[in-house]
Amino acid sequence: MLTMTLAENEQLKVEDLIVRFYTYEGIVKAVEKANLNLRKGETLGVVGETGSGKSVTALTIMALTPTPGKVEGGHIYFRRSTGEIVDVLTLKEEGLLKIRGKEISMIFQEPNAALDPLYTVGDQIAEAILTHRLPEMLEKVGRLEGEETKGLWAFLEKLPVFKGSIKKRLLNEVVRQEIVELLKLMEIPDPERVVDAYPHELSGGMQQRIVIAIALACSPTLLLADEPTTNLDVTVQAQILDLIMRLKRKFGTSVIYITHDMGVIAEISDRVAVMYAGRVVEVAPTMEIFKNPLHPYTRALLESIPRPGLSFKAIPGTVPNLVNPPSGCRFHPRCSYAMERCSRETPELREISKEHLVACFLHGGA
């Protein structure tokens, strides 16, 4: 039955997702029927202001909606590496543990905060490897074990106290080797030393490379990137972006890249989804969105990018209160093209021209 929900080339589909947060101040309607789809191997840029619901959506894709959030509707269809298609929102913890870190991975905005300060970075990468690639590692150990038949260790192995210690030692070596290779792939200099380093000993750029290493350690099919370069220095930003794109091509990973920076979007995305106040308001290939933005919000976003020589045009108004959001189209209070209808009805996401979807009454969407 679920095999019908994803097209042949589709990797992920978020359908009518509703997420609400139950807080002291009231019920925050953070995501209100969001729709996204992702094709195999493509980079989908998701852009929006703070409060647009983009992070919550990404976290929900892994079923890691932060408390006090609750998913109240919708589906998230994901094609597993086995070919099987599952609705992430219906999976139990058991099933989710097999997907997180292995088929869907995430990298975060603040690399320093994303690493446990009490463990070495090597330990933390090892966690990902040992959780999902243990059989593969043990197989390598098996091959090595055969060679270790002589010497002191072989004798000690016979004693009950040391039984299994050879295996453990070899496993450590094998995993360590794997980590070093991974670090080299991340273009981290002096990987042998870095393996034993603690997070605080590394620079922000290095830390982010570690976070990426952890995410890619098990070759996931989908990578969720939540503003991974926002908190880094500008020069480092470019390096990390570059790295992500190269790795993506190498592993064939599909990427959902969340950011508020249109410049980054322009550089790396194949397609762009624009989110506002919990809804996806426009989706189109990158070139198309820049050339021909249809939704008033998208237009305003593009116009608000400061450019030398031109006057600065900010979007009037403020981000809506999501406890009491505006009725109808959530953007209508700030929209220069708002019609009477916009305050009554909510437009649906409609395909207007090839590959270009908009949720706006200016362009059909009835």
């Binding site: 913890e93 543990l97 991975s105 995430m106 446990d116 300060p117 959780t131 605080h200």
Partner: protein, 345 residues
């Protein structure tokens, strides 16, 4: 070890000196509240000297300005002369030293139990936040914290000792005391539980342990709230951090996330408090020892206070200050060991 940690340790050790000086200054300030005749008792080593009060006043300059007195007093203290205790008829230092083992024995049992129970309760109450378990643990801990320790002790004694006839006050039953007095039972450390093992005497061991039950329960009930509260808020703080999300995103199951990552980080905050708690227990639990007639330094201090035995109370206060300063030092050094951010700079 990086150089910055050496600096940290050196600086921390050096800081002990001004703190110790501060402690002595405070106690000395309290001594100045008494008149010279009363203060004379702080300087004598045996009762015969008490007759020669005027000589003492002259010798130690008790009628001279305060700052001069401070040095002569400090000099005596460093040499171990804390004065003569009227209520116990022995030098204060001797009294403290001989009674310390009783307090230490109580603390050795009570502190770890309180800390472990507190950590466990704090952990489950954070992990199961807002559930029945959480509310129940927090309610129990508020109850424990609000109980007057002397009242709890009395109620426990009334019920177990009065009602059931078990767990009598004191450190040992009369028959075991007799053994100790006659020398049949050799005292090595002053801790009856340890000594009974060394004497290979199971009966005394059981007796000593049974006398520890009620005081330890009392102390645990009252103090567990402190540790539990800090552990709970520490865990809740860690649970909101990104590395926890990152660990979950790695595919680690909840148990591993909690035990391997969250708990370990949360425990760092608890270390200080645990150290202070242990120090507090080693400083003599005045009320608990009094109720259960557990003759440690707290019992001694309470007895001395009611007799207005100045040197004894002040000597006790001084010892307490010293214990706390050392405990704070140990805790800070422990931090340097546990937290790689401090260890490696």
């Amino acid at each position: 070890m990086g150089s910055s940690i050496k600096v940290y340790i050196a600086r921390r050790l050096l800081l002990v000196i001004p703190t110790l000086i501060g402690v002595t200054l405070l106690i000395f300030a309290v001594t100045q509240l008494f008149d010279p005749v009363q203060r004379a008792s702080l300087y004598v080593r045996d009762p015969r000297q008490m007759g020669a009060v005027n000589e003492i006043i002259a010798k130690y300059g008790l009628d001279r300005p305060a700052y001069m007195q401070y040095f002569s007093w400090l000099n005596e203290v460093i040499q171990g002369n804390l004065g003569w205790s009227q209520s116990l008829h022995m030098p204060v230092l001797n009294a403290l030293l001989t009674r310390f083992s009783a307090t230490a024995e109580l603390a050795i049992f009570a502190a770890p139990i309180t800390i472990f129970v507190g950590i466990y309760l704090g952990k489950i109450s954070a992990v199961k936040k807002d559930t029945l378990v959480d509310h129940a643990t927090r309610a129990l801990s508020v109850i424990g914290w609000s109980l007057p320790s002397f009242w709890l002790g009395i109620v426990l004694l009334a019920f177990f000792y009065g009602g059931l006839g078990i767990f009598s006050p004191g450190r040992l039953s009369p028959w075991a005391e007799a053994l100790v007095r006659t020398g049949e039972f050799k005292v090595y450390t002053g801790l009856y539980t340890v000594d009974s093992i060394l004497n290979l005497n199971g009966a005394v061991l059981l007796d000593a342990l049974s006398h520890l039950v009620l005081p330890v329960i009392t102390l645990t009930i009252i103090n567990v709230a402190l540790i539990m509260r800090v552990m709970r808020s520490s865990m809740l703080e860690q649970l909101g951090k990104t590395y926890v999300l990152s660990a979950r995103a790695r595919g680690l199951d909840e148990k591993t996330v909690i035990n391997k990552h969250v708990t370990k980080n949360a425990l760092i905050s608890v270390v200080t408090l645990s150290g202070l708690l242990t120090a507090g227990m080693l400083s003599g639990m005045v009320i608990t020892e009094t109720i259960f007639e557990f003759k440690g330094i707290g019992y001694f201090a309470a007895h001395a206070a009611t007799q207005l035995d100045i040197p004894a109370v002040l000597g006790f206060a001084l010892l307490t200050g010293l214990i706390f300063v050392i405990a704070n030092l140990i805790v800070d050094l422990l931090y340097a060991y546990i937290d790689p951010r401090i260890r490696l700079g």
